[in-house]
Every structure is written in C-alpha cells, then in structure tokens.
Amino acid sequence: MKVLVTAKRVIDPYVKVRVKSDGTGVETANVKMTINPFCEIAVEQAVRMKEAGIVTEIVVVSVGVAQSQETLRTAMAMGADRGILVESAQEIQPLAVAKILKAIVDKEQPRLVIMGKQAIDDDSNQCGQMLAALLGWPQATHISSVTLAADSAQITREIDGGLEKLTVNLPAVVTADLRLNEPRYVTLPNIMKAKKKPLENIKPEALGVDIAPRLKTLKVQEPSSRSAGVKVADVKELVAKLKNEARVI
C-alpha cells in the first residue's frame, strides 16, 4: 500500500519566538528551523509500517519556501522514498494547503495519508480534517495508535476525557498525536542516502489551486506579560500569602 505523509518546515520548538518590531510577523532570519514535531511522528509511523511490510512506498510532501527541501530530506533520511515540494514564498493558509494536498493525492492515489495533528507555528489543527473533507474520505485525528487491515484501519484517538476507538474505511486521512510513536534519530549514512532520493518541485499554479489567503493578518503582538511574582521562604509564608494577599484559599 502507498502512503502519503506531510512535513511542514517550522521554527524549532525550543527557540524563543520573537515578534518583528514592526508588528507584521515573527522574526525568522537566522532562526533555527526544523520539521514540525508532529510531522516527524507521522513520517516515523509510515516508516514503521513499511518496515512491517504493510506499506510499499512512502511519498512525503511539503508546501512552503525553497528551503523546505531540507525538511523533505530529513523525512527521506528517516525512510520516506521520495519527496514533493510544492514551492511558494507566499503565506499558504490551511485551507489552501489542504487544496494543494488534495491535488497531489488525486495524482498519487495513496491508500492512507498520515499528517501531524497541528503545525506548531500557526497552531491551527485544520489541514488533516480539511484534506479528508475535500477528498470525501474518513478522518481520524489525534491518533495514538493505528492498525491497518485490507480495507479499514482500527484507530485509537486521544480525546479530552481519555481514549476513543474508531474504525475508518480506507482510503483515509489520519493525524498523529504525540504518543503515536517516538521518532528515530537520523543517522549520517541515511542522510547521505536521502540526498540521492528523488525530489520533485511543483509550483501551486501548476496544480490549478486557489491559494489566496482568506485571513488577513492585521497585527502581530507579544502576549501581555504577567506581573512579577515573589519567592517565598517556606510553606508557612506561602499559605499566608495565598490566604491574605491572593485570597485564593
């Protein structure tokens, strides 16, 4: 079975993000970038399915600037077979990403699409659901386990109160939560091998997709900061402060 996975290039989760002084966006110059952590989990899942002999080919897709090639190379070093970069320097919002991915899925005809549950930059948590909708396929979001059968998949999802069990028909779109797996480290020989794997470059216009943003960004700001707190010496002082100053107990 053929699987399609997605990999977004994002600012590294451990970097402190700063708003540009003119309030138009966030500072990205000289900032460490990485594969979106949830996409890394999605790629890992596909690779494990291939190692288990269930999956025959893994195609990884990224939508974004030219440097997203690096993100695709990372996914290929983990074990994806080939990459597709849909290159654009423009901001592409989740609905447009979903439309682009639909066009790729129509062409590639995978039986399963594995995505991250959210991109840690826009924190939208939309693309997977939107892609499933546009394809008319079932979806399973926030998954912590997936078992494939010939025509269906057994899913465990993380929900607010615990876990949920679902069966979805194939083809389907699933989105990875943190506990689906622990992604492997890429090794140097695999990084070298990944450099030789095929990487196709497509422009969104070639897919005939409308990518005009539907949300206009009017302002970007830092959140208001909390007023400074105090260190207390011991439990007695803490309880006194909570009672008399904060009045929460």
Binding site: P138, D160, N169, A246
Partner: protein
C-alpha cells in the same frame, strides 16, 4: 447576523467550553441558535435552552451522532449552515475534530482558537504556543470559528427557557464507525472546569510518587494535571496533559510541582490567576510566570503544604 453554536455534552450536561463559546458568540451580535446533536441527548438540550443568550435550540437525537463522529456531525452542520453567518464551537477535542471539516466543505478558512472578538469578522488568536497573539480578519462569507474557552467567561442562566426544535437527521455517511470510549474515571473536577489545579511533572519521579499530590488536591478541591514528561513517563494518563498540545487551563490557582516550565507547558497554563511553583532548581523557567514560588525538594514541600492547609 445569526450564529450557530455547536454544543458539546454528555447527553445530560454541557461539557466545559460550550457556555464559554456562547459568550464569545454573543459578542458577535445577532441571534444565537445552539445545535445539540448526539444519542439520547434531549436532557442536554433542556440544559442549553436555559443558558443566557440562547434564542433557539436545535436537537438532533440519533445513533449516527454518537461519539460526535466527524463525518456525521459535518453532514448535519452543513445541512443547516446556510442559515447562519457564523458557526462556532469550543476549541476542545470535539470542536477541533469536526469544525475544520465543515469549514473545508463550505470553502472557508476556519479561525482556530480565538481568544478575543474584535468585531464580527476580526479576531485575536494565539499562535506559536501562545507566544504570539495574531489579529486576523476573515474575508469569507461564513465564519467558522473555534473558541479558546479560558478566554471567555461561561454564559449564565436565562430567565426564560428558549424553544427546542427537532432538526431533520442526516444519513449515516457510513465511512467510519465509532467503537467506544475509555474515559479516565475520577471523582475530581474536570481539568478545564476546575477552580484549582495541582499539576506534577517529571520531578515526581514515578507513578507511585505522583500520588502524593492527591491529599494536596483533596484539601484544595483541585483537579490533577501533568506535564507531557509526566504523561510520557507513564505516571498518569494522557488526558492529564496541560500545554500547547494538551489542555488549555486558566484556574484561580495552578500549583506546578516538579515542572520545569517549558514554553509548551506554559502555553497551557500561563493565564491562570495565581500560579504557585515548587521546584528544587532555583533557575527553573516556571518561576518566570509564578506568582509565588518555593525553591526546595517537592517531597518535603508537598506533605508540609498539605498539613499546613489543615
């Protein structure tokens, strides 16, 4: 302006978040209709009917809506969507699951997780784990919105109950099947509804040790939460996780025990009114958001605090 809010409930009561989403909906202006879908959920519709600001309740009680299956919820919402200018749900696990599906089929860009309503088409939403607040204006004809519950007070009770109407059921889409849920059982308040939360991190050391938070939580009437490290280490179930990818909470008081304060954790709790941190590392980043902190061994502080609270 006419707003459709989709309720989350357990058949009888509203889940935390819906009453807050109704408050956000009221800020948009116009009439508010609330859709209650599910299996055997007529009692929940009664509850919604007496929430302040609600003009009408639509009830869809049928097996295909059990578990809020995304494909079937989407079909139902789409069947009535054209009557509304705004479609709103809380940004809970449920809302996040089906709302983007609705948005895509209406060909609109969803506005996720709004924390403030500027006008009927302009909203503020946190991005980058809450480190950046972005103001966006939607050009779409229908606005599909999920609401960050902690940013809006829950709507109160109405003087008179709104009318309840049955809405025509959509057919089971039949491409997915809800097989059931395993819910974590707890006598404590739900994390997202609790007035006080006591959360433990990797510093708790083990599932066994994590239990020392229970007597403290009992004294405070608190819910118990956790960092991702504590969940990944198997100390507690996944639904305890607070943070960028867990639950967003903003209680009156949040007590962080043995939690370092990574940005992804802060993203889920830094809007709490009072934050207490207990950590033996004098440099722990959690102190940057704490109202009060103690630098000491948690295995000494937690029992002492429990005793001191009397």
């Amino acid at each position: 302006m006419s707003v459709l809010v989709i309720a989350e409930h357990d058949g009888h009561q509203l889940k935390p978040g819906t009453a807050n989403a109704i408050t956000a909906a009221a800020l948009l202006g116009g009439e508010i209709t609330v859709l209650v879908a599910g299996l055997q959920c007529a009692p929940a519709a009664q509850v919604v009917a007496s929430v302040a600001g609600v003009s009408k309740v639509l009830l869809a009680d049928a097996p295909q809506y059990a578990g809020f299956l995304a494909e079937n919820m989407t079909a139902l919402v789409l069947s009535i969507a054209k009557n509304y200018t705004h479609i709103v749900a809380a940004a809970t696990g449920m809302g996040k699951n089906f709302m983007p599906r609705v948005a895509a089929l209406l060909d609109v860009q969803q506005i996720s997780d709004i924390s403030s309503v500027v006008s009927a088409d302009t909203f503020v939403r946190p991005t980058y784990a809450g480190n950046v607040m972005t103001t966006v204006q939607s050009v779409d004809s229908i606005k599909v919105i999920t609401v960050r519950a902690t940013a809006f007070d829950p709507a109160g009770n109405a003087a008179a109950a709104a009318p309840i109407e049955n809405v025509a059921h959509t057919a089971d889409v039949g491409i997915s099947k809800f097989e059931g849920q395993e819910l974590t059982k707890s006598a404590r308040p739900e994390l997202t509804a609790a007035r006080v939360i006591v959360s433990g991190g990797r510093g708790m050391g083990s599932a066994e040790n994590f239990k020392i938070l229970d007597p403290l939580a009992d004294k405070l009437g608190a819910a118990v939460g956790a960092s991702r490290a504590a969940v990944d280490s198997g100390f507690v179930p996944n639904d305890y996780q607070v943070g960028q990818t867990g639950k967003i909470v903003a209680p009156e008081m949040y007590v962080a025990v043995g939690i370092s304060g990574a940005i992804q954790h802060l993203a889920g709790m830094k809007d709490s009114k009072v934050i207490v941190a207990i950590n033996k590392d004098a440099e722990a980043p959690i102190f940057s958001v704490a109202s009060y902190w103690i630098v000491d061994d948690l295995f000494k502080v937690v029992p002492d605090l429990t005793t001191e609270l009397g």
